[in-house]
């Protein structure tokens, strides 16, 4: 009896010992790194000690700033090397203006979508976070992840409220309320043909302006440059090939999912593009391209980017690329092969659909977990409308990171040695057209933008928020079918197009295509009607 009691006690003791060792280890570990972190921890301590001395600093503001706060600012991507210094400078000003300090956090590009979900879902303090249509702004807003800003804006950020045009505020509304502050800088991400101008001149080929002339160019390259692949393509034949192809061959309102078709001119009419004669003809064209050798046979296994294939001289044309990225390709090419030249022809000049990016494309929202919504919005106003904040967070320190030469932005040193290259904080959302500085190289893009400005038409598609909760299972099944049966068709690898298309349609219908299209159509028509889109 006694012996077993002793044993039990000793067992218990060893458990305790085990736990304390564990605990001690974790708390020790906790202390050491805490001392090592420089900027962020200091920043938390600072306001508490200085807060009292700084009262009534900003009497003009309609919000209470008597209590010091620390704002958690979240952006996607990687933090620039000089961020600590920039943050300290910003904090000096923000302390004075708003009695607030800010901590700039970055998610990195690794698994950013998962982290984004965790930041919004875990309830940890996040005061400002980047939003875009590709971060699912619409569905997060619908689910109530962000605070509505309608009432806050005139109070906390009157200047910002006026700065952003009313139609932009209108455009970012979800269910009648504003959840994000949109960026006001206008840019185009519409596609255009990219080709090797030097080769085109050499063999006297037509200038690609539509699918027909583009195909003639490809044919010419195939004949004259047997070692080159005419068309640069990779395994993502959905986005890089079919979506782009349909956007120039037809006039779709946007890259619609599930094979739904809506023409730009007639948003109220919805049809099924998949399985239609139009679809079949497009696939036959793809097959012809594949048969004639414009694309490589193993295109579904290629992982290289389209641009890499051009700059390495492997391929001679990209079906469609946006002006900014085209400009980057030009710069890269100039460095590697100065004697090669590229040509560009924007689709909108052919089909008339020159849509600037939708205001949703870049924005900042205040998540529900924020306890300092007023201060966060006031701070964001500073970032956008105050030149000191804006220039510092977009371009770094003048004289150290950049200089202004003839009105152009000029990086000091190169991207490897400079700790803060242009827009290194990924500040796409708080760009202010009034303060923006451009590199000389960017003139090419601006010229294209100017041309597109003349024929600008509104983006009717991006504001639409799809709610797929009712057909989530079908959606996943359909994606599988699409990869298995449609991708080979897209790549032109199926011998009998008609039969292949029939098989795909049959499988897609089994997966629930009709239900998805019906639901999607209803939601879309409702959106069109509510927004009064014509």
């Amino acid at each position: 009896m006694k012996k077993s009691a002793v044993k039990a006690v000793s067992a218990l003791l060893s458990v305790f010992l085990f736990i304390t060792v564990l605990a001690a280890c974790s708390s020790n570990g906790n202390n050491a790194p805490a001392n090592a972190t420089k900027a962020p921890t200091n920043a938390t301590n600072a306001p508490e000690t200085e807060g009292a001395t700084n009262e009534g600093g900003g009497t003009k503001l309609g919000i209470d700033i008597s209590k010091p706060v620390e704002l958690q600012f979240y952006m996607l991507g990687d933090a620039p090397k000089d961020l600590d210094f920039i943050q300290a400078e910003i904090n000096k000003m923000a302390k004075e203006d708003l009695n607030a300090t800010v901590n700039f956090n970055y998610t990195t590009w690794t698994d950013w979508d998962q982290k984004y979900k965790l930041l919004l879902g875990s309830g940890q303090q996040v005061d400002l976070i980047f939003t875009a249509e590709w971060t699912q702004y619409q569905s997060y807003a619908k689910k109530g992840a962000f605070q509505p800003l309608d009432e806050l804006l005139p109070v906390a950020a009157p200047k910002l409220n006026e700065f952003v045009p009313a139609d932009m505020w209108e455009a970012v509304k979800i269910d009648g309320q504003i959840y994000t502050v949109p960026a006001t800088y206008k840019e185009y991400v519409t596609n255009g043909f990219v080709w090797r101008e030097d080769l085109r001149e050499k063999y006297n080929l037509p200038k690609p302006v539509d699918i027909e002339t583009f195909e003639q160019y490809l044919e010419g390259i195939k004949k004259n440059e047997p070692n080159m692949t005419p068309l640069s393509m990779n395994s993502d034949v959905k986005t890089n090939l079919m979506d782009v192809f349909t956007s120039i061959a037809h006039k779709p309102i946007g890259a619609l999912p599930y094979g739904v078709g809506v023409d730009y001119e007639t948003p109220g009419e919805v049809y099924s593009y998949w399985g239609s004669d139009e679809h079949k003809e497009d696939l036959i064209t793809m097959k012809r391209w594949q048969d004639n050798g414009y694309m490589v046979k193993n295109v579904l296994a290629v992982k290289d980017t389209l641009q890499d294939q051009i700059t390495s001289g492997k391929a001679a044309a990209i079906l469609g690329d946006n002006p900014t990225r085209y400009n980057d390709t030009v710069i890269n090419l100039q460095a590697a092969h100065p004697d090669w030249k590229l040509g560009y022809y924007p689709y909108p000049l052919t089909n008339g659909i020159a849509t600037p990016v939708h205001p949703i494309h870049n924005g900042y929202a205040i998540p529900v977990s924020s306890k300092n919504a007023e201060r966060a919005l006031a701070f964001y106003e500073k970032m956008v409308t105050d030149e000191r904040y804006n220039l510092l967070t977009q371009y770094g320190v003048e004289g150290k990171n950049y200089e202004v030469v003839d009105g152009y932005y000029s990086l000091i040193g190169d991207a490897n040695s400079n700790g803060f290259p242009r827009e290194a904080m990924n500040g796409w959302a708080w760009r202010n057209p009034d303060f923006m500085l451009f590199d000389k190289n960017y003139d090419g893009v601006k010229a294209i933008f100017d041309e597109l400005d003349k024929i600008q038409v509104p983006d009717k598609f991006t504001g639409f928020a799809e709610d797929y909760t009712s057909y989530q299972a079908e959606k996943a099944a359909l994606e599988q079918v699409e990869k298995q049966y449609l991708y080979p068709l897209n790549a032109g690898l199926v011998k009998d197009v008609e039969e292949g298309l029939n098989t795909f349609m049959e499988k897609a219908k089994q997966a629930g295509l009709e239900k998805i299209q019906e639901e999607y159509k209803q939601q879309w028509l409702q959106y069109v009607q509510e927004q009064g889109i014509q």
């Binding site: 044993k7 906790n30 972190t37 090397k81 990195t108 690794t110 698994d111 590697a336 990924n426 000389k440």
Partner: protein, 296 residues
């Protein structure tokens, strides 16, 4: 009879050697390809594909990896520290746990074993884990968060328990006790000495686990100076492909990134050091594999 045997053995050996040699070559081939590709110019990889001997020799892959040498070295440091501390502490805890759990006089051993086993089947999932670490334990941006989660891996505890059970007979423990050894002495002087193969195996698993870990960094570390090596490098690749995809460039070119050769150079940089661990642990490893068999 004897001659025949010898002949037979000769042939057997010859065939065995040839087969093993071929298998080794097959295993080695991809690795050689990686090394070769890491020294090839990126443009040439895209144009000509992979070759065993670089078509156009270039160090640009390594240049990109070591673009910011300070950061890479820092990441190396973090990973090394985490691996060493994590493996040492983890081995200590897990051998103790394994030892206690296999002692027949520990009444609740089945209950505790079950509890440990239970967590491998049912877990809270990612979000609760994340909330636990960030909100309650407040471990964001500490080295602890990189070490802590791996310290008590259920699978390794069970492995350790079984190793100890088969390596240390109860009678040994009993006799040690009669000689006046207390529980800790038995653990440190007898159990640890006898289960060296097991420790080596578990240690290797654990070290690999810490060395290859990037996910914890990805979730809990915001401060770039505390990134683990794997995460730092993985992130370089991701940033490159993302920038290429987004077309977020704004006129200031970051230069044509040699994606393919960088990936290969990274693999070499990352696998190199841990490769050296194998020869040291291997002899224990072999023993560990046979120990159960001898006992029958």
């Amino acid at each position: 009879m004897k001659i025949k045997d010898d002949n037979y053995m000769k042939w057997f050996r010859l065939i065995a050697f040839v087969v093993i040699l071929l298998t080794t070559l097959v295993c080695l081939f991809p690795f050689l390809l990686i090394i070769s590709a890491s020294f090839t110019q990126n443009e040439s990889i895209i144009k000509d594909g992979y070759n065993l001997i670089p078509t156009v020799f270039s160090l640009e892959g390594y240049q990109t990896v070591f673009r910011f040498p300070k950061q890479v070295l820092q990441a190396y440091g973090v990973t090394t520290i985490v691996t060493i501390i994590g493996t040492t502490l983890g081995l200590f805890f897990m051998t103790m746990a394994g030892y206690v759990l296999q002692r027949k006089d520990f009444k609740y051993r089945n209950f505790f074993s079950f509890m440990i086993y239970f967590t491998t089947l049912f877990g809270g999932g990612l979000v609760p884990w994340y909330i636990m670490m960030t909100k309650y334990l407040k471990l964001t941006d500490t080295l602890t968060v990189l070490i802590f989660p791996g310290l008590m891996t259920p699978f390794l505890i069970i492995l350790m328990k079984n190793f100890i059970r088969s390596a240390v007979p109860d009678e040994v423990i009993e006799s040690a006790k009669i000689d006046g050894a207390n529980d800790f002495t038995i653990y440190s002087r007898i159990v640890l000495q006898l289960s060296m193969p097991g420790i080596a195996t578990v240690g290797l698993f654990l070290a690999l686990q810490y060395w290859n870990d990037w996910f914890t960094s990805s979730l809990f570390i915001n401060d770039p100076s505390k990134y683990q090596l794997q995460y730092y490098l993985y992130n370089v690749i991701n940033a490159m492909s993302f920038i290429a995809q987004m077309g977020a460039g704004t006129g200031v070119s970051i230069g044509d990134m040699p994606t393919e050769s960088t990936k290969m150079a990274m693999s070499v940089v990352v696998t190199g050091p841990i490769l050296f661990l194998y020869p040291f642990v291997q002899r224990y490893f072999v023993k560990g594999l046979t120990i159960g068999a001898v006992k029958g």
